[in-house]
């Protein structure tokens, strides 16, 4: 028997009043939460995220795949313990490890209780919970997962990498050239963003949201702004809504174009890197010209936008669209047909459709492995329901499929930009956010996938709690699955084809 998410939660929990639509929140008692942890073994709902809160509470966001309905479910844990969802939902593991580190709660039955973000280098333990000051700490050795067998060897890589990328540690276990296990250890870029946001006016907290992951600065800013606007009942002027979509699509374009080149470069095809990086530079220069910042950082703020688009700016972006369309044809033709390139990307780094269904990583990773989710369609947010675009889906799950999804998304973004420029309303671009207490959540499609932002605003208009979830949380573990059986030398191209964020994940 299939049960609906709303009916299940309404029967067992207490709905929380004053939570902004369209996402309801239900409070379960600890017994009902424990039952949910068991029921999830048979129920089809996806766990989008888990996060802690004070006074001692754990929240989880769940999605019903059939209807796309999303709800938040909470359990109070006055004894600072809660039943782990990890046995039924492996994606919960890292969220719960992070909650243990940041709040000092115990996730009972957690299948992998090792520390995650806490590397014993902070001057406090449980910084978001009881925040106990501690002196000099001696780092405990991190126990990597055991590997057994003849003729295996290990290659430790990082946190400082050979390329110009973010820090993280990869532990390869290989049999000759073939990777039998890859384990990632992250948390090196943990900056304590959630603690910094607490108590800040929404305008200041927005600057932190804009710096969660620099490549997704528009998308993270948009998710935070939409969550705050939901919480406070702020209605954004129409022009701002459309300008935000314009910036979001420019950001998607810039990232996809740069990454298409970089993926090709990781199999030695330098021409595509030169071409892709030039096209990316063109997007960034147009963004700089139109909005005054190459990455459009701090241009999306709670209440609207911080930069308007002049007539010159409109022309600049229209010109950019024309140049990109013209230049793309030959690049796409190359990437789709060059035999020496296909030889390295087809059947490399396959993420199975089963794992993609179970983890719902979203973005080009999910869409290259048969999952069609796109937050711009479900739950959808303005102005996208008024715009026409398609969601490209492939089933092969290899590096090539992820490249193809990105190419199709570039074409879609150009099409979206056409429509946005044509229909851009006139008027104000910002209103002061309402000064009201409340809580809200937003789901926004960044270039990498779905970004979730949950926020509670107190009556002073400051942030009481904000949890920004980058899609990388659900994508990193899948990289380690996709790499199995590939050769060590193909790790860079597999990694680049996933392009997960370290900073967005490490918070």
């Amino acid at each position: 028997m299939t049960r609906s998410l709303s009916a299940y939660l309404a029967a067992r929990g207490r709905p929380v009043a004053g939570v902004a639509a369209p996402f309801a929140r239900f409070v379960l008692d600890s017994a009902a939460w424990a039952t949910l942890a068991e029921d999830l073994t048979t129920l089809p709902w996806t766990v989008l995220a888990l996060w802690g809160d004070e006074p001692a509470t754990v929240h989880a966001a769940l999605r019903e795949p059939a209807t796309g309905i999303v709800a938040v479910v909470s359990v109070a844990c006055p004894e600072r313990r809660f039943a782990s969802l990890s046995a039924a939902r492996p994606p919960a593991i890292r969220f719960e490890r992070a909650i243990q580190d940041l709040f000092g709660f115990t996730a009972e039955g957690l299948t992998d209780p090792r520390p995650w973000l806490d590397h014993d280098a902070w001057p406090v333990t449980a910084p978001l919970g009881e925040a106990t000051a501690v002196g000099e700490r001696v780092p405990r050795p991190y126990r990597f997962l055991p590997v057994e067998g003849a003729s295996l060897h290990q290659i430790p890589v990082g946190p400082v990498h050979a390329g110009i990328i973010e820090p993280g540690h990869f532990r390869f276990t290989a049999n000759g050239e073939t990777i039998v296990r890859l384990e990632d250890r992250l948390g090196y870029t943990h900056k304590g963003v959630e603690a910094l946001m607490r108590g800040k006016p929404v305008g200041d907290a927005a600057r932190l949201a804009a710096r969660l992951s620099g490549d997704s600065t528009v998308a993270h800013s948009l998710a935070f702004a939409r969550a705050v606007e939901a919480a406070t009942g702020t209605v954004v002027p129409p022009r701002a809504v459309w300008l935000r979509a314009l910036m979001a699509e420019l950001e998607r374009l810039a990232n996809h174009l740069g990454d298409i080149g970089a993926i090709c470069n990781d199999v030695g095809f330098a021409f595509a890197l030169a071409e892709g990086s030039m096209l990316r530079e063109k997007v960034l220069r147009a963004a700089d010209w139109a909005f005054g910042h190459r990455l459009m950082m701090d241009r999306v703020v709670p209440g609207g936008c911080a930069a308007d688009l002049s007539t010159d700016g409109v022309k600049g972006i229209a010109d950019l669209i024309g140049v990109l369309r013209q230049r793309l044809v030959s690049l796409v033709d190359l990437v789709e047909h060059k035999a020496s390139l296909l030889d390295r990307t087809v059947t490399t780094g396959v993420l199975s459709t089963d794992l993609a269904r179970q983890w719902q990583p979203g973005g080009f990773i999910g869409r290259a492995s048969g999952q069609d989710h796109d937050s711009r369609k479900s739950p959808g947010y303005p102005p996208y329901p008024e715009l026409s675009f398609s969601v490209p889906v492939f089933a092969d799950g290899d590096v090539n499929a992820r490249l193809m999804v990105r190419i199709k998304e570039v074409e879609n973004s150009l099409w979206l930009l056409d429509q946005i420029l044509e229909r851009l309303p006139v008027g104000a671009i910002w209103v002061a956010p309402q000064r009201a207490a409340g809580e809200g959540m937003a789901l926004v499609e960044g270039f990498r996938g779905e970004i979730l932002n949950w926020v509670r605003i107190d009556d002073q208009g400051t942030v009481a709690r904000c949890f920004p979830r980058d899609p990388s949380w659900l994508q990193w573990p899948l990289l380690t699955a996709a790499i199995e059986g590939n050769i060590v030398a193909d790790f860079p191209v597999c990694n680049k084809s996933f392009n997960c964020s370290y900073s967005g994940h490490d918070l």
């Binding site: 050979a162 973010e166 870029t189 900056k191 910094l196 740069g258 960034l284």
Partner: protein, 176 residues
């Protein structure tokens, strides 16, 4: 591809003119520079980039330095894969506590003479992350810094000016 390559021959390179060094930074650097560095380094610098916990915005712009517009290798600058090959550490981020040891060890692994460039608001003073329990707050509190390039993130042109200034400072110092 062939057509595009031929057109490049016809149109000439896309690269911008190399920027002039920043005089103020130059004066400061020459004063700091160890005599004899020029004899060793000449007009070429090998750069090792270290992300000490940035949001990856700085990395995006540092990567842009290699695109055909900025093309930094023609100016005698190149990125290397190991600190052991480097003359310059280009450090970004507010230095998270979790990256403190790794940054110090990377510096120890870099042979003398070496320079450290702190790029971006975070590397200079922690930026928006200053005061966090998880951030040490500046590159200079871990290793000696020779040049600061401001910006959030710094534009590629500003990064280029900083690095060109380093080369000029090196060239302006007489050999031993």
């Amino acid at each position: 591809m062939l057509k595009r390559l031929l057109r490049t021959l016809w149109d000439g390179p896309q690269a911008m003119t190399g920027p002039a060094p920043n005089e103020e930074w130059l004066a400061g650097l020459v004063a700091r520079l160890d005599h004899g560095a020029h004899a060793l380094l000449g007009r070429s610098l090998a750069i090792r980039q270290v992300d000490a916990g940035s949001c990856n915005g700085c990395e995006l712009e540092i990567n842009a330095l290699s695109n055909p517009y900025y093309d930094l290798e023609r100016l005698g600058l190149r990125f290397v894969a190991s600190p052991r090959h480097a003359d310059v550490l280009l450090v970004t981020g507010p230095v998270t506590a979790n990256m403190g040891i790794a940054l110090a060890r990377t510096w120890q692994a870099t042979p003398e003479p070496k320079w450290v460039v702190a790029a971006g608001a975070c590397a200079i003073n922690g930026g928006v992350f200053a005061g966090s329990y998880a951030c040490i707050g500046s590159v200079a509190s871990i290793i000696p810094v020779d040049l600061e390039i401001p910006g959030c993130p710094p534009r590629p042109v500003d990064l280029l000016v900083g690095l060109v200034t380093l080369i000029e400072a090196s060239a302006a110092t007489p050999g031993r």
